[in-house]
Symmetry: C2
Subunit: 169 residues, 2 copies
Amino acid sequence: MQSLQHKASEWSGVDTADAFAIDDTNLFQKLGLDAFINLSTNFYNRVYDDEEDWFRLIFSNSKKEDAIQNQYEFFVQRMGGPPLYSQRKGHPALIARHRPFPVTHQAAERWLHHMQDALDNTPDIDSDSKIKMMNFFRHTAFFLVAGDELKNPNQQVACKHATSKPAAE
Amino acid sequence: MQSLQHKASEWSGVDTADAFAIDDTNLFQKLGLDAFINLSTNFYNRVYDDEEDWFRLIFSNSKKEDAIQNQYEFFVQRMGGPPLYSQRKGHPALIARHRPFPVTHQAAERWLHHMQDALDNTPDIDSDSKIKMMNFFRHTAFFLVAGDELKNPNQQVACKHATSKPAAE
């Protein structure tokens, strides 16, 4: 099977170098904590008000303020700031922690639609940083779609309907 | 169900604060790249020579030099150095990438046994850093054991033998 990373690049149209161009500069030092809090607040305000029930309901078991904190702490940690997320929750383990949710291609696109809107409405993030962040988000969203598909081969093995496939690179 | 993090702390005996004390100082700046390469080389020399077949065979589909590179690049990235791992392979996604392997309690203890030996035989790592790193490794090993157990509830759902459980926090 193709690697997670290969699928993420193919489906997102963003190669690894562009996805991780967020590491070329320290975005946390450049933007500051408030920019990240504002971005995640803008994002989840849109998500929790989404007129599309199928998408909004994915988040219905989480409190909005918790979702905001989990997200901005991870972004801060990943983009050059202090490891706020790990101090509170440990390893990001992105695929495993998204396991309870249906991370489909359609859900990834809806997530990215709201994130683009949120970025466009967060004036404390400059346009170059927005492009880098959006490439990272787009690649990561489809990395999680690839991770979501790992759930299925395993089910098939358990039921003896199909042969097993190696799950990750 | 208990969170991944809670299980990791309970089974390892290392709480989150101690596990992530690796972030108190920049270990990459303190130790340098060679220390990480030496550590992973020492570690995998032991693993690939393990007299315990059940453990050695877990690694038999990977080349030793690839295993060494994957490991030290992740350690460097996680401990304050450049994001070598993500530039080449993307998100660490620790649980998902360990999915093909049987990460049992017994395997975690064997991994940690070799890592303690490897640390003890890497003179370019000072004793304070060794303690911090070992706490991180111990916690992470059992975080992966907790992640490994996520594979099973899903199989049960697919076969309709049991009710679903939320898989991650």
